[in-house]
């Protein structure tokens, strides 16, 4: 695979530098070059909203920094959790004096680094609350939901949490809204082709031509099955079934839907998938309040897509509709 790289060991630095230059009306680099913050410092009294994670998922995580969204984001190496220091610095940047909520994915490194960052923040006198995303249906059975990974549903969690903080809610209110958002999310990923860390130079997993891996994770974590690749509409039906069977939503429920490419799938194919996704959701008596189709949460140049469905209630619907200003159009 041919890449646009200067130095394969400085991919993250170069990415962040370009990102901050491109979106200097929305974000800036903090003193720690592994932390990006919204240009508008958190208003005094506003609850800070923070996330962080490995790089290589762009536009996640940095692309969701901005007004009514994330106040600060900690940046890790490619597919590797940010340091405790970077999480801590992000928390400090986002602190408006009323506490900070950290909304992140359920990965071993993130869990440890956030835990340590919270200890450091406690010494600063900053109150921190956390919400851990676990929307990836195939990563653990329903009865072990706490073991499931956080994937593209995190975007809904950030949008809801960011919106709640923007209307002046307290730390616990922001946390509870973000928690409700992720509790109401289910996601599934499918892979058609692997990705490669530039410094490693070869893929760590293979997806044989002619096959699809169902339930694949954002770093190529293995799925639940590998099968012959069928038509887009069959794949979309399969994805809907996995997500909606786990969700068990009553007829008439309004939902938000997000179809994201994994990095190397053309946008037109995502629309082909969405065509059937919309049919399947309607067929089950659900109605789509808002849909997002595009590259929202990628995995370097993995070929594939994810589907996320969030069930809405009045509060989530109102929060999802709050306008945001970040590098990624939402």
């Amino acid at each position: 695979m041919q890449r646009f790289v200067n130095n394969r060991d400085e991919v993250v630095e170069d990415t962040v530098k370009g990102f901050v230059k491109a979106h200097r009306d929305i974000v800036r680099l903090a003193e720690n070059p592994r932390v990006v913050t919204a240009i508008e410092r958190p208003k005094q009294g506003k609850v800070g909203v923070v996330t962080g994670g490995g790089s290589g998922h762009e536009p996640a995580f940095i692309g969701y920094t901005g007004r009514n969204m994330l106040d600060a984001v900690a940046i890790g190496e490619l597919f590797s959790s940010p340091t405790a220091k970077s999480f801590h610095d992000a928390i400090r940047e986002a602190n408006g004096g009323n506490g900070v909520v950290v909304l992140y994915g359920n990965y071993a490194g993130d869990n440890m680094n956030v835990k340590m960052a919270m200890k450091l923040a406690a010494k600063d006198g900053i109150e921190v609350a956390t919400v851990v995303a676990n929307d990836d249906v195939c990563s653990a059975p329903a009865e072990e939901r706490e073991k499931r990974r956080g994937v593209a549903g995190e975007i809904f969690m950030w949008k809801v949490g960011g919106a709640k903080a923007s209307i002046g809610a307290s730390l616990h209110e922001v946390r509870d809204a973000a928690q409700k958002a992720i509790d109401n999310c289910r996601s599934v990923g499918v892979g058609l082709g692997p990705c490669t860390l530039p410094a490693v130079g070869h893929p760590n997993f293979q997806i044989k031509p002619g096959t699809i891996e169902v339930g694949i994770g954002h770093h190529g974590e293995p799925g639940v099955r590998v099968e012959a690749l069928k038509s887009a509409s069959e794949v979309a039906k399969d994805m809907c079934q996995i997500v909606l069977d786990d969700h068990d939503l009553g007829s008439g429920t309004e939902v938000a839907v997000l179809v994201s490419g994994l990095g190397a799938t053309p946008l037109n194919e995502l629309y082909i998938l969405f065509d059937t996704v919309e049919e399947e959701i309607s067929r089950r008596g659900l109605s789509i309040h808002k849909a997002y189709v595009g590259n929202y949460f990628t995995s370097l140049e993995m070929v594939g897509a994810t589907l996320t469905v969030m069930a809405l209630d009045a509060e989530l619907k109102a929060l999802l509709d709050v306008e945001v200003r970040c590098a990624t159009a939402l």
Binding site: G76, E77, S81, A84, E221
Partner: protein
Amino acid sequence: MQTLKNAAAGDIVLSMAGAIIDNGAYLSEIDGKIGDGDHGINMAKGFGLVADRIRGKELSLAEALETVGTVLMTEIGGSMGPLYGVMFTEFAGQILDVERINNKTFSRMLHAGLTGIQAIGSAKVGDKTLLDTLVPAIEAFDEATSEGRSFGEALELLVAAAEAGRDSTVNLIARIGRASRLGERSFGVLDAGATSCALILKELSQGTRERLQ
């Protein structure tokens, strides 16, 4: 009574950094079989920074270990940054004001590192992690000491147990971290963290043994 003089033993960490850097590609290769394949890259990067900071400074072992802890904690993320960061910080904390390190102090240092790791991670022995190297290594050292063996002999037994522990991870199924997502498929491969931990313990023990007085 054999002891290690703390003041001039910082170079042990320099040898350790060299061993990790030399084995970077190998560690990544192991990691690539069931993980991301970046363990060696991140470890080599971290220990490269450590080497740059301590080279030619004639640090004590405590100062050098403290440097490793700080660098890993602040510069290397992922899972290994915090785990090893805590371990080395705790190692250093036990010997900060100790002029001569004896076998009891050495044991206390190892236990503090282990306790630190257990406080932030939730892995247990048998989960196919660095604990499968660290825990039996500490047990072997303590057992040898309680049997009345010398500090030097206990260090040799520590290394042997660390390497046996490392090798035991081949026949384990990962229960934590990214490799755990593979379930049965993680069987039959060394754990990268257990492997780097064996390297670290070997360099620490050999360097100590060479300097015993």
